[in-house]
């Protein structure tokens, strides 16, 4: 089982970030929640390694220093 890659891995991060924002244009909060959920499910299945997903969940759950 692999570890979560926590180093930069995208050649063009701004483009990818923009795609994530654009996914929600014109959405209600409810619809945004659902689209995010779909995206997470797609990516989790693609990763396919429960250990990598577990580590990603851990990163996501860590509280930010800025609260």
């Amino acid at each position: 089982m692999a570890d979560l890659n926590r180093q930069p891995n995208l050649a063009n991060p701004d483009d990818v970030y923009q795609q994530l924002i654009d996914l929600h244009s014109g959405c209600s909060e409810e619809e945004s929640h659902r689209r995010n959920a779909k995206l997470v499910l797609c990516l989790a299945n693609h990763i396919g390694d429960p250990e990598v997903i577990r580590q990603a969940v851990e990163v996501a759950a860590r509280e930010s220093d800025h609260g």
């Binding site: 929640h33 659902r34 995010n36 997470v40 797609c42 299945n45």
Partner: protein
């Protein structure tokens, strides 16, 4: 009077109340509770030759809406006890489940409960619990060493002496037992009398169960709806014998339970599900809520809890009654050995393995419940996302959770399981239940029976156990039976150990081989 207290319960079959015995009694095993779990325990122990007394506070088999789905594993166990065929002949066999969403006519997801073919028992049968109880009772009535007592209620237990105070409508008596098996259901009186804990989650939800009778040529499949057009978060349709159908409707929390079962309130839901054209009649309407909880321990000195008295789950997954029958299967060969002189510590392995089973059942049924009725906005978003995606994206379909249906639980970490010494590719690992296969014009599980057995591709010399020699290519393949391979099966048909290049000395590694 005892009898008056149970007047509200519908009856399937009446028995004569059993008169109380003349004086105080001493007996090896008393089973308290005559539901399908207690009766299965009595049949297994009775067939192993022990004297058993079963105390049933009712003097009838109750009708009404109870368990209906019996799993392949339960049928395998009942087949070992010789009662499965009657259940199957009467029951509705099904293997396919379909999941629908809203008013869409095509299912979003389909599954097959018997992915491994060439086994004697089907994936599931549906059968009203009262038929299962009746067939078990008929088999018990043929055993002179088992005594079924009708209308006998336990009023008190003295755990120091394992002495029960029992009352009947025609007098009271005391009964001392070496072992008491408590199969007295979710509201277990014995659990309360012993002051034992019962912890876990109560789900704040209600479900309407409408058992209705109508004639229709629908296929024998489990149909489940998310967000059905007739209201509620979920619904379920299941076929039972005698043209009875189980319809299950989620209702929500703060509801009027009395009003919910009034025919004028039930009918629109039934009509929504089955259409306007088919005439139907009520069998039994009821509202239930459920809990997912278990006792911290199932074995309390010489009182042993099995089935609903020990653990409760939500009904989605058919893990209640099937989980209880699994308890019987796990316990009775151990109790048989202990009654025959084995160390009492063997009973502790029942405590450990049955808790493993209960925890897996509780985990699965809690997850199903959370998927069906999400408890937060984000949980709802994920659930809806899965159902949206499942329509076109195969990857999303395994996330759809309309109940993870009961399959046998494995005990790889049990002290009864001998870890693999060799490296294996395929076969059935230690701690897993034996898989059926064709055998000598019959079936392998039948041949394995209820005693310790060896399984191999050729006879095994110089061993104190009988060997089942696999004779079908299917069996050889399912167990990866290359020359020199020997499996050791427990009396409950779980794999205790397996070896490549077996020698009889290997049996010395197996704890509790009796």
């Amino acid at each position: 009077m005892l009898r008056d207290r149970f007047d509200h319960i519908p009856r399937h079959r009446q028995f004569e109340p059993t008169p109380p015995p003349a004086g105080a009694e001493q007996t090896p095993v008393v089973i308290v509770g005559g539901g399908p779990v207690g009766l299965t325990a009595a049949l297994d122990l009775g067939q192993r030759g022990h004297r058993v007394v079963v105390l049933n506070q009712l003097d009838f088999i109750a009708a009404g809406s109870k368990a209906i789905c019996f799993s392949k594993r339960t049928l395998d166990i009942w087949n070992r006890l010789g009662v499965a065929q009657r259940m199957i002949d009467k029951g509705v066999i099904w293997n396919v489940g379909k999941v629908f969403r809203s008013s869409r006519r095509e299912p979003v997801f389909e599954f097959d409960m018997l992915p491994v073919k060439d086994q004697e028992m089907p994936g599931f049968i549906n059968l009203q619990q009262y038929w299962a109880e009746e067939y078990l009772i008929d088999a018990l009535l043929e055993l002179p060493n088992v005594e079924l007592r009708w209308g006998h209620q336990v009023r008190a237990i003295d755990p120091a002496e394992n002495r029960l105070d029992v009352s009947t409508d025609s007098g009271s008596y005391t009964l001392k037992a070496d072992w008491v098996i408590a199969s007295d259901g979710s509201k277990s009186a014995l659990r309360d009398m012993l002051g034992l804990d019962f912890e876990g989650r109560v789900f704040e939800d209600n479900f309407l169960i409408a058992d209705v009778k109508f004639e229709d040529e629908r296929p024998s499949e489990r149909w489940f709806w998310f967000d059905p057009p007739w209201g509620g978060a979920s619904s379920l349709l299941h076929k039972q014998p005698d043209d009875v159908w189980r319809l299950d409707f989620q209702l929500g929390w703060e509801i009027d339970r009395e009003a919910a079962i009034k025919p004028e309130n039930v009918e629109p839901k039934v009509r929504g599900m089955i259409g306007d054209d088919i005439p139907f009649s009520e069998e039994w309407y009821s509202v239930y809520t459920f809990q997912c909880r278990r006792m911290a321990r199932f074995v309390h000195d010489r009182v042993i809890f099995i089935g609903d008295s020990a653990h409760l789950v939500s009904p989605f997954g058919a893990r209640g009654c099937n989980g209880g029958v699994a308890d019987c299967d796990n316990l009775i060969w151990k109790l048989d050995a202990v009654l025959g002189g084995a160390d009492r510590a063997l009973i502790e392995t029942y405590n450990d393995e049955a808790i493993t089973t209960a925890d897996e059942n509780i985990l699965n049924s809690s997850r199903s419940t959370d998927f069906m009725t999400p408890k937060s906005a984000v949980s709802q978003a994920f659930r809806d996302a899965v159902l949206d995606l499942a329509e076109h994206e195969p990857f999303a379909r395994p996330f759809v959770n309309s109940g993870r249906l009961s399959t046998p639980v494995a005990y790889p970490g049990s002290t009864l399981t001998v870890k693999d010494r060799d490296s294996w590719d395929g076969g059935v690992p230690p701690g897993y239940p034996a898989v059926d296969a064709p055998h000598d014009d019959a079936w392998l599980l039948r041949e394995l029976g209820g005693e310790w057995k060896l399984l191999a591709a050729a006879p095994v010399a110089d061993v104190p156990l009988s060997t089942v020699v696999a004779d079908s290519p299917t069996a050889v393949e399912r167990y990866a039976l290359t020359p020199g391979v020997v499996y050791l099966l427990r009396p409950d048909q779980y794999v205790a150990a397996r070896w490549k290049n077996f020698t009889p000395a290997d049996l010395g590694d197996v704890p509790w081989l009796t």
